[in-house]
C-alpha cells in the first residue's frame, strides 16, 4: 500500500534533558497570564466584571506612587521567605514551614526589642537579627533532626509547626507581652525608635529590601559557585548519585533546613522591625505559603526569586485595591494557586523540545529500520 505515506511534518517532539532557555522564560510568563485568564472566567461566573477589576488592580499598582511603593514593601518579606524555602526545595527538602519560621523569627526579634528598650541601634538591630536567625533556625532545625535520622516526613512536621508558632505568638500578644497601655488590643508595646529599621525617605520601604537583595546574591553564589552549593544541587537532583559520591546527606539536611529557617526568620524580623514596629497576631497574611509559589515559579533560582517576589507583591497590593469594589482580597490567594497549577502544567513543555527535522521522510525511514 503506497497510499499510506509517513506524515511529512518537519517538527519532532522529543525528550530533552536541558530545558531550552526560551521555554524557561515563556512557561512562567504564560502561566501567570493563563492564571489571570482562568481567574477572569471565575470572576465572571460570580457575577463580577473581571476586566474592570484587573484594570483597577493594574492602574492601582503601577499607576500610582503609593501602589508602586507598597508593591516593594510587600515584596520584601515575600522575597526573603521565597529565598528561604527555595533553598530547601533545591535539595528536595519540602520546607512548608516558612510561615512558622517567619513567626518565630519575628517573635525572637521582638523579645530583644522589648527586653532592651534603652539600648542603642548598633546593639539592638544586630541583636534582633541574630535573635531572629536563632528563632527561625531552631524552628527549621526541629523537623530536620527526625528527617535526617529517621526519615520522618518533613512536609507534615514543618506544617504542624506553623500552627504551633502562630498559637505561640497569639499566646504572647494576648498574654504576657500585651501592651499595658494598648487599650486591651492584642499588640505588644511599640518598639523604641532604635529598634526600627531605617526607611527610604518618608516611604514605608525599609532596609529589609537590602537584606533580601544581599541574601539573593549570597545564595546565588553559594548555590552555583561553591562546593556546598554543588552538593545541595546534586542531592536534590539525584540522591542516589549523591550517596555514591560520598556526600553526607544527613548533615546537609540539617544544614539546609537550618539555613532555610534562618532566612525565613529574618523575613519575620524585617516585617516587625521595618513595618509593623510591634508584634501583633496575623502580621503575616500567609507570606510563608506564598513564598512556596514564588520559589517554584522562579524555578528555585535566587535571582529570579527577587523578580517574582515583586510580581506577587504587586498582586497582593492589587488584592487590597479591589477590596474597595467589594471583592474579597482572598481573590489573590486563589489567583496565586492558579498560577502554580499552570506552572506545573507548563513544566511538561520544559521536559520536551521541538526539533526541526531537515528531511522528515528520511527520519521516519531511519526510525523504522
Amino acid at each position: 500500500m503506497s497510499g499510506l505515506r509517513p506524515v511529512a511534518f518537519p517538527w519532532r517532539l522529543e525528550r530533552s534533558l536541558v530545558p531550552s532557555p526560551a521555554m524557561s522564560v515563556l512557561v512562567p510568563v504564560c502561566s501567570v497570564v493563563l492564571a489571570l485568564l482562568a481567574g477572569a472566567v471565575f470572576l465572571a461566573f460570580t457575577g463580577r466584571d473581571p476586566w474592570f477589576l484587573y484594570g483597577e488592580m493594574f492602574s492601582g499598582v503601577f499607576g500610582t506612587r503609593y501602589g508602586l511603593f507598597e508593591t516593594v514593601v510587600k515584596a520584601i518579606p515575600l522575597m526573603i521567605a521565597g529565598l528561604g524555602v527555595g533553598l530547601a526545595f533545591r535539595m528536595r527538602l519540602w520546607n512548608i514551614g516558612g510561615e512558622g519560621q517567619l513567626y518565630m523569627g519575628a517573635c525572637a526579634a521582638t523579645w530583644v526589642a522589648l527586653t532592651f528598650p534603652d539600648q542603642p541601634a548598633w546593639f539592638l538591630l544586630p541583636g534582633m537579627f541574630a535573635a531572629a536567625a536563632v528563632g527561625g533556625g531552631v524552628w527549621g532545625l526541629l523537623p530536620a533532626i527526625p528527617r535526617a535520622y529517621l526519615g520522618v516526613n518533613e512536609i507534615i512536621t514543618t506544617l504542624m509547626l506553623n500552627y504551633v508558632a502562630i498559637l505561640w505568638v497569639d499566646y504572647l500578644v494576648y498574654g504576657p507581652w500585651r501592651d499595658p497601655a494598648g487599650f486591651n488590643f492584642p499588640l505588644t508595646a511599640r518598639f523604641s525608635p532604635e529598634a526600627i529599621l531605617p526607611t527610604l525617605g518618608d516611604s514605608r520601604i525599609h532596609a529589609g529590601l537590602l537584606v533580601g537583595l544581599t541574601l539573593a546574591l549570597i545564595l546565588y553564589v553559594v548555590l552555583y559557585r561553591t562546593r556546598w552549593g554543588y552538593e545541595i544541587r546534586v542531592v536534590g537532583d539525584s540522591p542516589g548519585a549523591a550517596r555514591y559520591a560520598g556526600i553526607n546527606i544527613g548533615r546537609n539536611i540539617l544544614l539546609v533546613m537550618l539555613a532555610s529557617g534562618v532566612i525565613c526568620g529574618l523575613a519575620g524580623m524585617v516585617e516587625v522591625s521595618g513595618l509593623a514596629h510591634r508584634l501583633q497576631p496575623g502580621f503575616s497574611p500567609g507570606y510563608g505559603y506564598t513564598a512556596i509559589i514564588i520559589a517554584w515559579l522562579a524555578r528555585l533560582n535566587p535571582l529570579t526569586v527577587i523578580l517574582v517576589a515583586f510580581l506577587f507583591g504587586g498582586l497582593q497590593v492589587g488584592g487590597y485595591i479591589v477590596q474597595t469594589n467589594g471583592v474579597p482580597a482572598t481573590m489573590v490567594a486563589m489567583l496565586q494557586g492558579l498560577v502554580l497549577f499552570f506552572v506545573l502544567a507548563g513544566e511538561v513543555l520544559l521536559k520536551y523540545r521541538f526539533r526541526r527535522v531537515r528531511d522528515p521522510r528520511a527520519e521516519v525511514k531511519k526510525r523504522d529500520r
Partner: protein, 310 residues
C-alpha cells in the same frame, strides 16, 4: 460526674475524629494507587464551603454533603490531571491544590461568615443501639455521617484486601509497570482513586461546616487535612487502622476543648497546640516503628508512571 465526663469526652472524640476519618480514608485510597495528594486540606475547605452554601440555599444538609463530594472530587481531578497525565511533581501539585482551595473557599465564603445554618445534620436515633448504656452515648447518638463512617472503613478494608479490584489497586501502587503488563489500566485507576479520595475529603470538610461546628469560618479546617495525611502513615495505609488513629486524634482535639470548659490553669493557646504537637510526636514514633518492621509506603508512591520510560 467523672463517668459522665469521660463519656462526654469519648463521644466528642468520635465526632471530632469523623472529618479526619473521611479525609484519611480518601487519602489512603489515593496513596494506595501511588498518588500522593497533599491537597487534602484544600479539598476539605472547598467541601466545607460548597456544602455550606448549598445547605443554606436549599435548606437540605444532605444536598450540601453531595455538593461537597462533587466539589472535592472536582478538585482532585485537577491533581489527577497534573500528576497522572502531565506527570507533574506530586508534592508541589498537592500544595498548589491546598493553597488554591484555601483562597477559593475564603473567596466564596466571605459573605457566609456569620450566616446561621437553619438545618444542620441531626442526630439519628437507632433502635436498641442508641439506648445502650455507656456504648450508646459514645458511639450511637450521632448524626448519619458518623454512623456511615463506621461502615465505610470496613468496606474499604474489604475492597483493598479481599477483592480483585483491591488487588489491582495495590499492584498499581506497588509496581505500575507490572500492573500495566497484566492489563490493568494504570492511568484510569489512578484517576479513579484520586477522585474518590477527593470526594471523601469533601465529605470530611462538609462534616465540619454542616455538623461539627456548624457554620462557615475562614480556614475552619485548621490543619485537619494535614493531620489526615499524617494519619495515613500512622495507619500504615490500612483503612481499619485509620479508624483507631482518627479517634485518638479526635480525642486529643476533644480533650483540649473539654479542658477549656473546665477552667484548667493552662492557657487555651497551649491546649490548641496539642493536636499539632501530638501529630509530630506520633509521626516520629510511627516512622521509627514502621522502619523497624519494614512496613513502607506503596512502592511507587510519588512517582509518575510513564510507559515510555519503562
Amino acid at each position: 460526674m467523672t463517668g459522665d465526663f469521660v463519656i462526654a469526652v469519648l463521644a466528642t472524640a468520635i465526632v471530632a475524629g469523623t472529618p479526619l476519618l473521611y479525609a484519611a480514608l480518601g487519602e489512603i485510597m489515593a496513596e494506595r494507587s501511588g498518588i500522593l495528594n497533599l491537597g487534602v486540606e484544600g479539598m476539605m475547605l472547598v467541601g466545607a464551603i460548597s456544602g455550606f452554601i448549598v445547605a443554606v440555599a436549599t435548606n437540605d444538609p444532605w444536598l450540601g454533603v453531595v455538593t461537597a463530594m462533587v466539589a472535592g472530587g472536582a478538585m482532585a481531578c485537577i491533581h489527577a490531571f497534573l500528576t497522572v497525565t502531565l506527570k507533574a511533581n506530586q508534592v508541589v501539585s498537592g500544595l498548589a491544590l491546598t493553597l488554591f482551595g484555601a483562597g477559593l473557599s475564603a473567596f466564596l465564603g466571605k459573605s457566609y461568615i456569620g450566616t446561621p445554618l437553619a438545618k444542620p445534620l441531626r442526630e439519628v436515633h437507632l433502635p436498641v443501639l442508641s439506648d445502650l448504656p455507656v456504648l450508646g452515648p459514645i458511639f450511637f447518638q450521632h448524626d448519619a455521617l458518623v454512623l456511615l463512617s463506621f461502615l465505610l472503613a470496613p468496606a474499604l478494608w474489604f475492597w483493598v484486601y479481599r477483592t480483585r479490584a483491591g488487588l489491582n489497586l495495590r499492584a498499581v501502587g506497588e509496581n505500575p509497570a507490572a500492573a500495566d503488563s497484566l492489563g490493568v489500566n494504570v492511568f484510569l485507576s489512578r484517576y479513579g482513586y484520586v477522585i474518590l479520595g477527593g470526594m471523601l475529603a469533601g465529605i470530611g470538610g462538609a462534616y465540619l461546616s454542616l455538623a461539627y461546628v456548624p457554620a462557615w469560618m475562614e480556614n475552619m479546617v485548621a490543619g485537619r487535612g494535614w493531620i489526615a495525611v499524617a494519619l495515613v502513615i500512622f495507619a500504615t495505609w490500612n483503612p481499619l487502622n485509620a479508624v483507631v488513629g482518627a479517634y485518638i486524634f479526635g480525642g486529643i482535639d476533644a480533650l483540649g476543648f473539654r479542658l477549656q470548659t473546665l477552667d484548667v490553669a493552662v492557657s487555651p493557646y497551649f491546649l490548641k497546640m496539642l493536636p499539632y504537637l501530638f501529630t509530630i510526636g506520633v509521626l516520629i514514633l510511627v516512622t521509627r516503628k514502621n522502619m523497624l518492621n519494614r512496613i513502607g509506603a506503596p512502592g511507587a508512591l510519588g512517582q509518575p508512571y510513564d510507559r515510555e520510560e519503562r
